[in-house]
Symmetry: C2
Subunit: 231 residues, 2 copies
DNA sequence: GTCTATAAACAGATAGAC
DNA sequence: GTCTATCTGTTTATAGAC
């Protein structure tokens, strides 16, 4: 079996034609895998969409499966770059002022999450790709879980804990953060149903604002109720 | 093109071998479509799983596409039978007592939803199937949306309105009900991530109880906050 | 109604010319 | 590195035997 050129390549060659073809193939396959699924996408379609030839897939990635793994790597890099700053640790005070600051950070995160996941076109491909991987785990999911899901969820739990006084790694907290994420994700997954039920033609910036407003209110309500339990 | 035997069949022939083959094909294809996707599933696999032969698919459903539509019909029937009683209209009093009764019905619905969607094995196939249809709408989605999504969502909005005093068909209410559904659905869609993060080996009855507890608390918190706005 | 054989198209992988 | 030609296996659909 030929070894694909997936590692050890020099960083100076980023704009060589080889790297351009490589990048174009990843972009095209991420889009097509997201739209039509891994099995539903042929290597011929990918090559055509990337303006490359079929043989280049075997050359760069060893085969179709290698392309899937490369997509996972691209997703990890992309989302880390976008989500990283938003969920970075910010200095939080103690007691009530710390809780308020943490809740403000949660507000900002919800707004960014909705903006990216729901309204950003590129997020559609990524979410669909991840969704399919979740339903049929491969090595690509391992990369996405370890590089993205786990660290982000853990960080969100910590922020939620700072905002409510709950323990960050408590089972209840972890489940609650999943439920909160679900509120947002569903607007992408069930987009078609949302469009029909809301009578919207698309979900753009204006619709994202409406969704953000509702989700933020929900999250506040949950946080307030949790905080109120301990008093 | 041959017309498939998809309509006009007599109801008395339910246990004939023809109907048995037909039912077996639908069950098998729903499971396989859910697991591996429509494109990822071959008619040979379906026929083998249903203990039928390949030709019978063309005979009963006209082809693979007809099988997809038949799956959608099966889903509408199944979910209507399960969800129907739970969301049926119950006599609600006026004022505060009516709100409490409506919230109690919401509690019961959340519990049933989590129990079915998250813990019931058959729900996995159905959710995965619907999920894939949502991301790539065909005529099968039209059937599911019209027969299931729209009426159930509308009914949930009405119950939520009775519990909170909001207007049932207000944009905000419709979005809020979507967000609440998202909380539950995510535990099925993101099951693999949930399993890993929670350290669970599977999601059974015991885990469903934990999830129900968290989601119910969230929903109560949201409902209470909404009700509190008007005072 | 069921099952088999086969057709026609398409898949991914690969060898080799350039 | 790129591109073409081709191999091998698999796909859905269908015609026809039983």
């Amino acid at each position: 079996m030929n070894e694909a050129r997936t590692s050890g390549r020099s960083r100076e060659a980023l704009s060589s034609q080889s790297e351009q073809t490589r990048a174009a193939l990843i972009r095209a396959s991420l889009r097509l895998f997201g739209q039509k699924g891994f099995d539903g996408t042929s290597t011929r379609d990918i090559a055509a969409a990337a303006n490359a030839n079929i043989g280049s897939i075997a050359y760069h990635f060893g085969g179709k499966e290698g392309l899937r793994l490369a997509c996972a790597g691209f997703i990890v890099d992309t989302v880390q770059r976008i989500a990283g700053p938003a969920i970075a640790a910010v200095p939080l005070g103690d007691g009530a002022s710390g809780e308020a600051a943490a809740m403000a950070q949660i507000d900002a995160i919800v707004e960014r999450m909705v903006g990216f996941i729901v309204a950003e076109p590129q997020a559609g491909e990524i979410v669909q790709f991840v969704l399919r991987e979740l339903s049929h785990p491969t090595a690509a999911l391992d990369a996405i879980y370890t590089g993205l899901f786990e660290p982000i969820h853990r960080r969100l739990c910590a922020i939620w804990a700072a905002a409510t006084g709950e323990e960050a790694e408590a089972e209840e907290t972890r489940l609650r953060v999943f439920a909160i994420i679900g509120q947002v994700i569903y607007f992408r997954i069930g987009r078609e149903a949302v469009l029909r039920r809301m009578g919207w033609r698309s979900v753009g910036a204006a619709e994202a604002v409406r969704i953000t407003s509702v989700v933020r209110e929900n999250v506040h309500a949950i946080g307030t109720a949790i905080r109120g339990r301990s008093s």
